[in-house]
């Protein structure tokens, strides 16, 4: 393990893309055609007016550019880094047909970094309405909802069970994509709008839901999802939780135990992030184990390509059945070969084991990243659910009047992502505002 000592996490896990220089940004911004009713804007879940913010970079009105971004997406600095732009704005760019799409994500990062690095606030709190809103969970959905409500003049308190706010932006996205400081800068921006953020406060532990409902005019639940579910195989207690693995790589990378031969179970974006961390922190061999094929994997195509370039190996049509432990140490992952059958409930071909095809994949560390449990809070608070997620109406209101929810915890449809959470938070804030300050009352002011 001596070779491990020369790996410096702050170097190998540092943000992957360098910032654009002023020159690069202006050249790229000038390449943008400035489409009218642009498809990139349609493709963005928060519908940022992308041609407008890019044109403002071209005219060197970078503060105006950042404001254009943040008006539509308060977590614009995070989204600039973590959005699957190939599937969203950049994937819809008309220049895909001509040459190559505009680097929208990196231009968005250029503009938002510009204001954060200079301490420029582009918004201020609205005139006080006298209304109080509680937000449970300080991830992207909660922070966006809180910030938008503060802009509208409401008094907002965010309760966060973790030590640091930011949710998955802080804890769950590898530094390679988003440094912790970026997520925390967004938290500070929201705080400067007058939002109070109380950490270490957990609903059902040291925070009473009934009391919250009594003391606040509205509640927004943005609690995310639960832990990585159990596989239900022998030796599971020796498997490392993928989200904890990523969290450790951000909070205490020196203390993260990384095997020499790591098996990662799952083939989503989090699984790829786990594999990337393992590889970069010195694992000689990292193998991703997935029971279906590359056609069904939930990781984005660009993430898959990235992983292959990192030297990560893939074992498709392979299902783990047992962790092999010898003398208290993991020595391998026993797997069985799979084949694809008829489509299952998800519409994807159902994998089934090939009898007698068991084999052992040598591994001294096994990490699992196979999604997250549905929000347990729904049951606890007695909220109606949809496929296990909190059920909301078009206004993001739950079955309890005045209680709203958004983000991953309501994601019954579509794929969970930061940008979708931001849009939920924004739209929920507007709905809460409409409820707390009806139009006529606003007009009377």
């Amino acid at each position: 393990m001596n070779d491990r000592q020369i790996i410096r996490p702050e170097e190998v896990l540092a943000e992957y893309y360098p910032p654009l220089t002023d020159h690069e940004a202006v050249v790229e911004a000038n390449r943008c055609l400035y489409c009218y009713d642009a498809p990139c804007t349609h493709a963005c879940p928060t519908h940022i007016d992308i041609p407008k913010f890019i044109k403002k970079i071209a005219t060197e009105n970078v503060v105006g550019s950042a404001r254009t971004i943040l008006e539509a997406n308060l977590m614009g600095a995070t989204c600039a880094r973590v959005c699957p732009v190939q599937e969203l704005c950049e994937g819809a760019c008309v220049l895909n047909a001509e040459e190559k799409p505009i680097m929208i994500g990196r231009l968005q990062r250029y503009a938002t970094d510009y204001v954060y690095s200079r301490g420029i606030d582009v918004f201020k709190a609205g005139p006080p309405t006298g209304k109080k809103v509680a937000v449970i969970g300080a991830g992207p959905a909660g922070l966006t909802c809180a910030g938008e409500l503060a802009k509208l003049g409401h008094s907002v308190t965010v309760f966060e069970k973790r030590e640091l706010p930011g949710g998955l932006s802080t804890y769950g996205i590898i530094v390679l994509r988003e440094p912790v400081e970026v997520a925390l800068a967004e938290v500070e921006m929201v705080k400067r709008l007058g939002v109070e953020v109380k950490t270490g406060m957990e609903l059902g532990a040291n925070l009473s839901f009934e009391q919250i409902r009594r003391e606040y005019d509205a509640v927004f639940l943005s609690v995310g999802l639960g832990a990585v579910p159990a596989l239900g195989i022998p030796g599971e207690e020796h498997i490392v939780d993928g989200l904890s693995y990523i969290e450790a790589s951000k909070m205490n990378p020196q203390g993260l135990e990384v095997g020499r031969n790591v098996a990662v179970i799952g083939a989503g974006n989090t699984a790829i992030d786990c594999a990337t961390v393992a590889k970069r922190l010195g694992a000689e061999r990292v193998t991703m184990v997935y029971r279906r094929t590359d056609a069904e994997m939930t990781a984005y195509p660009h993430e898959y390509e990235f992983a292959k370039k990192e030297g990560i190996e893939f074992r498709f049509l392979t299902q783990p059945v047992r962790v092999i432990v010898e003398g208290g140490k993991v020595t391998g992952l026993e797997c069985v070969r799979m084949e694809l059958g008829a489509p299952d409930a998800s519409g994807r071909p159902a994998p089934r084991p090939v009898p007698g095809s068991e084999f052992v994949l040598p591994a001294d560390q096994v990490v699992k990243a196979i999604g997250q449990e549905k929000p347990a809070l729904a049951q606890m608070l007695g909220l109606q659910t949809e496929k296990g997620y909190i059920k909301v109406n078009d206004d993001f209101e739950t079955s309890l009047s005045g209680v709203y929810a958004g983000g991953d915890c309501v994601r019954a449809k579509g794929s969970a992502s930061t940008v979708m959470a931001v849009e939920d938070g924004k739209l929920a804030a507007f709905a809460i505002h409409r409820k707390l300050v009806p139009l006529r009352a606003a007009a009377d002011d």
Binding site: V27, C35, D37, A38, P39, A43, E98
Partner: protein, 461 residues
């Protein structure tokens, strides 16, 4: 291979490209180098009256990430001693007998001063003289340059003084800083000049510094108008060139015209030739990229001439001039409409917004089922590239309403996507001149105009 050689008022050069009188022709060493690269000729940076220059003398206009669409300068004529220039001119001409070496001159407005400079230039063996009546800054404040070019009588007088003594061809270089370029050109013709050249630089202030509020470029806290040149001035130069080519007096005189003003590529060069220039001068493009651009200027021009079957430069000169026309002689029955090729269209909607906001409102957005849709009408809950691209409507021209203004063609970023297609108007050919001669009331009375429109079937929505 097309023959690029020219004989311009008796001045011969192996190709039509001369370096214009400007910083690139400031010294013998520079011109030796330029000729090694293949330039056909050089007009020596203006020699004459003693001057002193200032720093920050070149400004530039950049746009959309493109550097130096135009340059602006307050540099004066040569600040090197006259004797040094004359010695180097002699040396260059002796080394390059096949190249055109023309010397630009500007002295105070006395017959003695002009006679003296003409004799000194002729003594070097130079092939010709260009009279600088165009410099718009500094020299004009001393009664020279454009101060001469702007007054046809001065032009004529000074040209006469020169023609009285000159034995080599004399080119009169005109300033564009004048209402009608034809008048000083006619003055030069009257005075017996051998050739004309245009355009010199245009009065300009290039920018104001938004940090310091100083003029750009800043000359010790001050700034002022300089001479504007480069790609941005080409259309102005082409217009002035064609104004001379279509002027009866200038045309009859048969004087050749050396064209300049924004020539950067062989394409620009071909356009100047087609509108009547028979030698070409280049400055800004060289100041941007160096002498090496001569290779593509010649190569591109030659290849284009080959592709068009032109064997010599003479065959190209003035070929498009007969098409220059006044508005009153345009055919009012000519009709073209825009047509968008849906296979090439990338759906940027720049044509749609240009047409609907600023032109004639005849482009619609049509969805896959043929229904008209309004911009920004998608459901805000939809997102992702598949929905955005899949539901994107196609801009379509309503040809019956299209006036053929050509704005959409101009803004379209895709080559060959929006074409202007000639369609029958169903009307007999008639020009405004013919129409108003036959029915004068149509040009003076709206009711008569309406009657005429109804008669011939012109409907303006």
């Amino acid at each position: 291979m097309a023959d690029l050689r020219i004989n311009f008022a008796g001045i011969r050069s192996p190709n039509p490209f001369w370096l214009a009188s400007a910083p690139p022709t400031n010294s013998g060493a520079q011109i030796h180098k330029a000729f090694e690269y293949g330039w056909g000729g050089a007009v020596w940076k203006t020699i004459g009256a003693p001057v002193l220059n200032v720093s920050n003398r070149y400004g530039a206009w950049h746009y959309g990430g493109q550097k130096m669409l135009a340059i602006n300068n307050v540099e004066l004529i040569s600040d090197r001693p006259l004797e040094v220039n004359l010695r180097e001119i002699r040396d260059v001409k002796r080394h390059w007998p096949d190249r055109a070496v023309i010397v630009s001159a500007m002295v105070e407005s006395t017959p003695e001063a002009w006679r003296d400079i003409v004799l000194k230039i002729e003594d070097t063996g130079a092939d010709g003289i260009e009279l600088n009546y165009g410099c718009p800054h500094g020299m004009s404040e001393r009664g020279m340059g454009s101060a001469v070019g702007q007054v046809p009588e001065y032009c004529e007088q000074i040209t006469r003084w020169v023609m009285d003594v000159a034995k080599i061809p004399v080119i009169v270089k005109l300033t564009p800083n004048i209402t009608n370029i034809v008048y000083p050109a006619r003055a030069a013709v009257n005075a017996g000049a051998n050739a004309l050249s245009l355009i010199n630089t245009i009065n300009s202030i290039v920018a104001v510094d938004l940090d310091t509020l100083e003029i750009t470029p800043n000359i010790g806290g001050k700034g002022g108008h300089g001479g504007y040149a480069g790609p941005a001035v080409k259309p102005i130069a082409l217009n002035m060139l064609s104004a001379l080519g279509t002027d009866e007096v200038v045309r009859r005189s048969g004087l050749p015209i050396s064209g300049m003003g924004g020539i950067s590529t062989w394409k620009d060069a071909a356009e100047f030739l087609l509108l009547g220039a028979s030698s070409l001068q280049v400055c800004t493009a060289v100041m941007h990229y160096g002498y090496r651009i001569i290779e593509d200027l010649c190569d591109g021009l030659s290849n284009w001439m080959d592709s068009k079957g032109f064997k010599s430069v003479d065959e190209v000169v003035g070929k498009s001039l007969h098409r220059i026309s006044d508005f009153k002689d345009f055919d009012l029955a000519f009709r073209a409409v825009a047509r968008i090729d849906p296979d090439k269209c990338i759906k940027c909607n720049l044509c749609y917004v240009a047409c609907n906001d600023t032109a004639h409102q005849c482009i619609d957005l049509v969805d896959a089922n043929g229904n008209l849709v309004q911009p920004y009408s998608y459901d805000v809950r939809s997102n992702g590239k598949l929905e955005a691209v899949g539901s994107r409507p196609q801009p379509v021209v309503r040809e019956e309403d299209c006036v053929g203004c050509r704005l959409c063609h101009n803004v379209c970023p895709v080559e060959g996507c929006i074409e202007m297609v000639e369609v029958p108007s169903g009307r007999a050919s008639v020009t405004w001149d013919q129409l108003t001669k036959a029915r004068p009331e149509v040009g003076s009375d709206w009711e008569a105009m309406e009657r005429y429109r109804k008669e011939v079937g012109i409907d303006i929505h």
